[in-house]
Structures are given as structure tokens and as C-alpha cells.
Symmetry: C2
Subunit: 314 residues, 2 copies
């Protein structure tokens, strides 16, 4: 339980997608701190005892439920909603899957795959994966957003100007996020909690894990933000960086091609040097490896680098 919270929104109060006409789960004044009971991104379809069949049978109309929405009194189009992320209460169970048709290398990984994680929600000690891997954990919410101005139901899958499924791995405890408000009351929702992820979320899933999130909602009047921004109070990579990195590169005139090549080469390295199957290496890259744009100015070729943390094997 969250001792500093003014309200709790229970998991039954969730929606699939965004809609300015969804009824508020809560009407709150700016400054309220709220405990959100979030579901995992499968909406409970892939649990602690899941098998590959559960991935194959996944009902996509029930993925990525977001808890909410919260109507924030006084919020108007042009304001920013300031979200201070306070605390996560992780469940200790998670999953990572290769879902056919989804992911950066979907063309190369057509078969479903699943890994179910167990971790200690008290210590948040690194969680084991495959031959010798230990993945550091750092929980965050993959989907945080407000309702778009345009009427109707909008898919939860793509992130937008108003946030949503951004999967920014640094939206962790202590961070302040600013989202552009497009409708009265903002209509804030949150979900898709992750126990760990690398920049890129390359296989399409993180360590998907049910947890609760406490957050404070405030308003910045007339901020006129063009897109989300956030402030981190401290370092963002120290859970990963202690032993340095193995890095691979993609070099060429197209950022997406370079991105794919960098990841493909890391998968090759992990399979050759650590005995992972290709799909396990792909999922491992997704939960702890980072995509960085090393240079984007030396015409006509850009460099995208994929950083894999050596601490996983140390």
C-alpha cells in the first residue's frame, strides 16, 4: 500500500486504448498522489505458469490495458501535465516474448518464444536468463499518457504527441514527466509496467510485469509542449554500466537499416560467445541492451550502436 497516496485506482478501472470520451475513474485536484494498480501488458493472459501456447493464443484486443483515466481539475488544452513518479510495487513475476509479426526483426524471428521471469520484488536482485546471464532490474511504466484531442478510440500500441506507449526505460521512480494536455481534465492513464528494458525494446517486449505505481499529478498552465519531456534526478544507467559494454554498429544512410544491423550483430555475438539461441539473444537484447545514435551528421552515412552491458555475464 502507498502511505502517501490520496487515492487508489483499482485494476478493474482500465481501458484498451485512448478516448476523450472515456468516463473518468477519478476526478482529482492538481497535486494529488494516486496509487495505480496496473496490469501487465497481456492483461493477465500470460502469467507465472504461462506456456508458449499462451503466446500463440494471445487475444490482441485485450493487450496493454491502462489504468485510469484521471480527470485533473483545471487541466486545459495547452497545459502540461506534470507526473512525478513516486514508487513501484513489483509483483515478482514477469515475461518476455517474441510475438510473431511484432518487433524490430520480425522478418527474421517468425516463431513465437517465451521466457517467464521470477525475481525478488523486495531486493530487486538481477534475474537469471539462459546460460549465465543475470539481468539487472529497474522498474518503470511503458505506457503513460493522456487522451488525444481527436474524438474516437485510438489504439494503445503507438505512442503519440500526448505520450502513451513510449516504452522509455528511464521513466523510473523519482523522474518527472511532462505531457501535453489536449483535452479538458487531461484524462491520464498508466500501465504496461516493466521490470527491466533496454533502449529500443528491440524484440517488442520488455520484462513485462504486473506492478502498482504511485504518482503525483500536477499542472503547468500554458506550457505548450510539442511532445513529452522528462527530468531525471540522477544517473540512468548505473544498474547496467559497472562492467562496461560490448557494442556493435550499423553504418549506412538509413537509420532504421543501421539500427537493425547493429542489433543483428549483437545477436550474432551473443550466440557465438555465450551459447544463446538466436531468439533468446534477441529477447536478452530487448531487456537490457541500449540503442544509441553515435553520429547522424557525417553524410551520407550514420552510425547506430547497440550497447550490451557486460555486467550480465560478470
Amino acid at each position: 500500500m502507498c502511505v502517501a497516496c490520496d487515492y487508489t485506482i483499482h485494476r478493474a478501472k482500465h481501458n484498451f486504448g485512448w478516448n476523450r470520451d472515456f468516463a473518468p475513474a477519478l476526478v482529482a485536484k492538481p497535486g494529488a498522489t494516486i496509487q495505480f494498480e496496473c496490469m501487465d501488458s497481456s492483461g493477465g493472459q500470460i502469467g507465472a505458469n504461462a506456456t508458449l501456447q499462451d503466446v500463440i493464443d494471445l487475444d490482441f484486443s485485450k493487450v496493454n490495458p491502462v489504468t485510469g483515466p484521471v480527470y485533473v481539475e483545471g487541466a486545459e488544452p495547452g497545459d502540461a501535465l506534470k507526473i512525478t513518479i513516486r514508487e513501484f510495487t513489483p509483483s515478482g513475476v514477469g515475461w518476455t516474448a517474441n510475438i510473431p509479426g511484432f518487433g524490430l526483426l520480425a522478418d527474421q524471428f517468425a516463431e513465437p518464444a517465451l521466457h517467464v521471469w521470477k525475481y525478488d520484488p523486495a531486493s530487486m536482485a538481477p534475474s537469471l536468463f539462459g546460460p549465465g546471464g543475470k539481468v539487472p532490474l529497474k522498474p518503470f511504466a511503458g505506457t503513460i499518457g493522456v487522451a488525444p484531442a481527436e474524438p474516437g478510440l485510438h489504439s494503445v500500441v503507438p505512442p503519440r504527441r500526448v505520450g502513451g506507449n513510449m516504452d522509455i526505460r528511464d521513466l523510473t521512480s523519482g523522474v518527472t514527466l511532462y505531457l501535453p494536455v489536449e483535452v479538458e481534465g487531461a484524462l491520464f492513464s498508466i500501465g504496461d509496467t516493466h521490470a527491466a528494458q533496454g533502449d529500443g525494446e528491440v524484440c517488442g517486449t520488455a520484462i513485462e510485469s504486473q506492478m502498482n505505481v504511485a504518482a503525483t499529478l500536477e499542472l503547468v498552465k500554458g506550457a505548450n509542449l510539442a511532445s513529452p519531456r522528462f527530468t531525471t534526478p540522477g544517473p540512468v544507467s548505473r544498474h547496467l554500466d559497472g562492467a562496461g559494454y560490448e557494442a556493435t554498429t550499423g553504418i549506412g544512410p538509413d537509420l532504421m537499416v543501421a539500427t537493425r544491423e547493429a542489433v543483428m550483430r549483437m545477436i550474432d555475438l551473443l550466440t557465438a560467445e555465450h551459447g544463446y539461441s538466436a531468439v533468446d539473444a534477441y529477447m536478452l537484447c530487448s531487456v537490457c541492451g541500449d540503442l544509441r545514435i553515435s553520429e547522424v551528421v557525417d553524410l551520407p552515412n550514420w552510425v547506430v550502436s547497440f550497447y550490451f552491458p557486460r555486467i550480465v555475464f560478470s
Copy 2:
């Protein structure tokens, strides 16, 4: 001077571009440690007393000289050249410019601009920039490569499969870089030394600074690398991350558009909150801000984030 070095290659031994037919400056056995006297990327055209006119008058046929090449005995196509970067001897002077026609936002920054940096090459303490900014330094070589197989002269500007002008900010002291060898002897050259840069090098220049570099060259026979890769022995961002980050985002279906938007929004933030002119903010972003791909799987929209280190203002 480099006490552990077997050879020194003086700065007079440089070339503009890559060519398999360049005469070696040195023939060395694998395992040799070499001191490379590198020039700055202007080839001395922009020095400690430079003015904007020097940027306007820049002779592009004389940019980015690389010191070398070294013919490594026994190196054959299919091998990897393993470069262990040992030590930098910085000069204490550097420059950052907006060069018209060059840079991620060249369409928006048509006017030339220049900042000349002074720093203490012994302490490498952060260097001052504009109203209240202190930029942490971490030297590296922007251009490290071997000769391409294809005959003829190849421009030094774009990086390639064989390396070159990669501008990877983490190719610092202690790092091991592997490059695919395409010609007998590998023909290794290095230059374009930088006192600091962020991931992306968004304005097109870093803190361009003359320095010497010591490196050990070894061979990995038959490695058959597809593109450069590197190993860092420890963390890569701790000179930047102590006070956390301000981050802006670009969200949309095109990575390049999202990249440009993330940087534009950080320029807006730095001008609004810290009193920089737009072009100074752009140059500041280039020398210490990092481009990261936060997610590249949530169809059809990707998220690119630009991380600006708050330590610059703390």
C-alpha cells in the same frame, strides 16, 4: 611522449581520405604500440585565435587529415584489426562550429558560428560555455579506420564498414575496437581528435581538438566482422550522468524526423531556460547531449530521446 610506445608517427604523415594505394607511414608487427600525432579536424585551419572568418574560409579539401597509414604485417582481408586505445595527450585548445550545409539541422542553422574552447590538458576539468555551462571532457578519436578494398580515393567524411569517421564518443582510453580488414596490411589511420562529444554529434562538430593518441594494433585472424565493434572496460557516461538529465522526445514513424524533433525541442528548452542563443544551444547539444532510441517497435511510431546532462548547469 609515450614511454610504452614502439613508434611515433609524426603529423606530417597524414592523408585526406582513404586509399588502398597510399604508401605506409610505418610497417609494424602485430602487437606494436604506436604514438600517433593527430591534427585537429580542420588540419590547423581553426586554431586558438580563430575567428568566424576562419570558419567561412574553411578549405574543405584540407579537412579531417588522418595520421598513418600503418601497414600491419600479416593482416589479410577477413581478419579484424584489434585496436587498444591507450592514452590521449590533449592540447588544451579546441573549437566547435556550425558549418553551413553540415549538421543535423543544417536547414535551420544557415549561418556560420564558432566557439573556441580553452581547457586544462592536465586536469581535464570541465570547460566553460556560455551562460553558466560547464562541459565535462572525455577525449577520443572521431576517425579511426582501415583502407577499403575498393581502389581509388574515398572521402574521409562518411564512415564505412571499415570504420573511419564514426564519431563514436565512447572510443576513449582503455577501449578495444575491432575493425574489418579489407586489404593486405590493413592500412590503419587515425585522427579527428575530440575533447568531448555527445552521441549524435548533432551540429556536425564536437570539441575539435588537436591531440596525440597512443594505440596498440593486433590481429584477430579470420574474424569476418560485418562492421566495427568495440568493448568498453567500464562505464561510459559517468562524466555526464551525476546530476541526471533533461530529456526531450521526438515521436513518429520516421527515425530521422523523430531525431530532428528531439534535438529541436532541447534547443528550445536550453534557449528558454538558460539564455543561450539557438545556435549556441545547438553547439552545446553537440558536445554533451546524447541521442537514444527509446523504442523502435510500437508500430507505427518510434521514440527518439535527446538526453542533456544537468551537470552542465550544476
